[in-house]
Symmetry: C2
Subunit: 384 residues, 2 copies
DNA sequence: GCGTAACATGTTACCGGTAACATACATGAT
DNA sequence: ATCATGTATGTTACCGGTAACATGTTACGC
């Protein structure tokens, strides 16, 4: 053991400043480059003695595997491209969780994430798409952009890069996607409210530009229809997936003489806005107003009362996406193995929904409503 | 011209499925690989005729430069690592804008962005840091993590990867950082309120764990002190940089008999919460309450009244970071060229701040305050 | 004692580009 | 005519790994 250390100290070490290569280790240990490779990758046969020598030398020279070299002949980059909007006003939590799922699926692999902004102008240009992602920079692509992705998704598909869209199903059926079953989830939430005896049910819609928001609204309407309930359009608020706008609009809605006894918001952030509004108005939740959301964000369990909501398996969507891409990468993306997957969304019943009161027929105004200086937020709504 | 095309069609093309290489183009055009390289990179001498031949062949074979090959002998990856908290990157204005600045600075270069989660457990392990980023995968690192980065920043510094921290100055003076002058910016906002004649000034603090939040609070306190004004601790709200918590806390604060005539919130999101609270309470802004924020987010100009705020040059911070890294990369990161840069934050005076009313000495309660069913949100605050 | 299999290591070629140097021809100045 | 210079192209080597194949050694069963 001692002579080995001695030898290495005196063998010519890599030039200062230049990182050590396998070649350097080979010279230092007196072994061949190939044995070094085998020792460090624990592949093939290497004697215990040689392995120790190599490890010691690697440590001494602070050797790090150079992926570029490896990748060049394995013809892959170990980079997975993910495309998201950089400043999606919509659901930080949503994107974060999906990417978290992706990251968790990448643990143990040698894949890294290259990030691209879906709103970047570059993606409008097909050639740029290719230049950005196809030149062996990424082995696969995961698109998590709820809007404006059809154009470049198509381009990438033509370039035959393994690609999957997460959330917000694209129109083009030749593209693989993984999404949550928005329709089923929203249906079960609406069903739940109806089961509780509610028939005056309001709805807070998400942006019309988003596919999932439309699916949820559709589900809401169809479920009510299936139970022969009419949707009162006065109780349908057009929201933007944000808390504040939903809050202000709910203030208005809930202070009406004729108001719903339950509200289904198409995401949790807006449900929180409704909850805040109810509190200000003086309506107790769930006694006087049931509220259901969608997503099951952290905050849903951090409010009083805890929010009944539909859980989206966001992390699982991310993991699924990785699995799919990996499969394609492994197969060399040969066959056109498309998937159109809709993961089920689970209704989580908590404290914000309750049996509809038979007695409270919402004939009178809510407690405290007439005392609120109402003109302020009614006239001010436009600016929000 | 015609014979050239003819020739190419009959020359052996790359195998199906395998992307074309320069070798393929060389065979197809009858030129050498080197000439192909020169033609496509417009470097060195290439005759117009040859160039045209090459371009045509490249188009025909749908040739794309393989970066791995190039990178291998240029010993760089063209990847810039950015480290942010995952849930911050997408959706949060602050991170989004900084990354946007970074992206814009990368246009025209052949650099791409590799993203890493600052909250990943991997970064607690020095060896993992190296494995993740140092193995020739990134040429430089930009850290935009407001907390918990000291540990791994130090590790990367030791690995001699060009690195810069954006925002949230680290404690270790041997690390380069680019930040906004939080102290100066917050001071000018406080100064502005004082200039308007306010002396009863409230403050909405950000998370104590964040460096910038502390700087802003410090600036607020020092500025008041410099003007011989006492800070009333009852008017200091501990916020979390979020709208909702600030909203609920403000409701409480503003309905007190003895309340401030101006509030400085340490970010815009919280200023919006204060604005909403004022609206509910029935205080008109800016007549009865001046509100100033920090950041100048989009929403600041989308509310009524438009928010007076301190603008952070987020995109510029991103661009500066790239410039710095590029400089280091070009120099091979040889010398320890540290920068500690504080970009100035600009006070933007809009509509939410006004001269303090001499008459309104806040002796009486605000209009409508006693009419709000107060018990509801006071008791409920804990859950928010 | 010999053949076979498992073990241990080395050699060669190659991944897809590019730097460095070499070659060849044209042009224009001396 | 000669030489320096500019232009156009080719050759070779190399970046840092790994696959594929070759070689040599040891161990074990028959």
């Amino acid at each position: 053991m001692l002579p080995v250390t001695y030898m290495m100290k005196h063998s010519h070490s890599p030039h200062e400043g230049r990182p050590a290569t396998m070649e350097d280790l080979a010279r230092a240990t007196g072994l061949s480059k190939m044995t070094i490779s085998r020792a460090l990758n624990t592949s093939g046969y290497v004697s215990e003695q040689s392995r120790k020598k190599v490890i010691a030398a690697a440590r001494q020279f602070n050797y790090r595997l150079n992926y570029i070299g490896r990748n060049l002949n394995q013809n892959r980059t170990g980079m997975l491209g993910i495309i998201t909007p950089l400043e999606g006003l919509i659901g930080t939590y949503y994107f974060g969780q999906i990417v978290k799922g992706i990251q968790s699926a990448l643990i143990g692999t040698d894949y890294h994430i290259a990030h691209y902004d879906s709103l970047s102008a570059d993606f409008n240009d097909g050639e740029k798409c290719a230049q950005l992602c196809y030149q062996k920079r990424v082995d696969g692509l995961i698109v998590i952009a709820p809007k404006r992705h059809d154009c470049f998704v198509k381009t990438f598909a033509e370039l035959k890069v393994p690609l999957v869209v997460v959330g917000g199903a694209p129109r083009d059926p030749r593209t693989s996607f993984i999404d949550v079953d928005n329709f089923g989830g929203a249906s079960s939430a609406a069903e739940h409210l109806i089961d509780l005896g509610h028939y005056k049910i309001g709805f807070v819609a998400g942006p019309k530009t988003l596919h999932d928001a439309c699916e949820r609204e559709m589900a809401f309407r169809k479920t009510l229809a299936r139970h022969s309930l009419r949707v009162n359009e006065k109780w349908v608020i057009q929201g933007s997936y944000e808390t504040r706008k939903a809050f202000h609009a709910s203030l208005h809605l809930l202070s009406q003489r004729d108001r719903p006894t339950a509200i289904f918001a198409s995401n949790d952030l807006m449900a929180l806005g409704v909850l805040d509004a109810a509190r200000i108005i003086g309506l107790s939740v769930p006694e006087e107003l049931s509220i259901a959301g969608f997503d099951d964000i952290d905050a849903a369990t951090n409010v009083q009362p805890q929010l009944t909501t539909v859980r989206q398996p966001m992390q699982r969507m991310g993991r699924k996406a990785v699995e799919y891409i990996m499969e394609l990468v492994a197969k060399g993306n040969q066959e056109r193995h498309l998937i159109h997957q809709k993961l089920t969304a689970q209704l989580i019943i908590r404290e914000s929904t309750a049996q509809a009161r038979k007695t409270t027929q919402t004939t009178g105004q809510a407690r405290g409503v007439d005392k609120v200086p109402f003109s302020h937020f009614v006239t001010g709504t436009s600016g929000l």
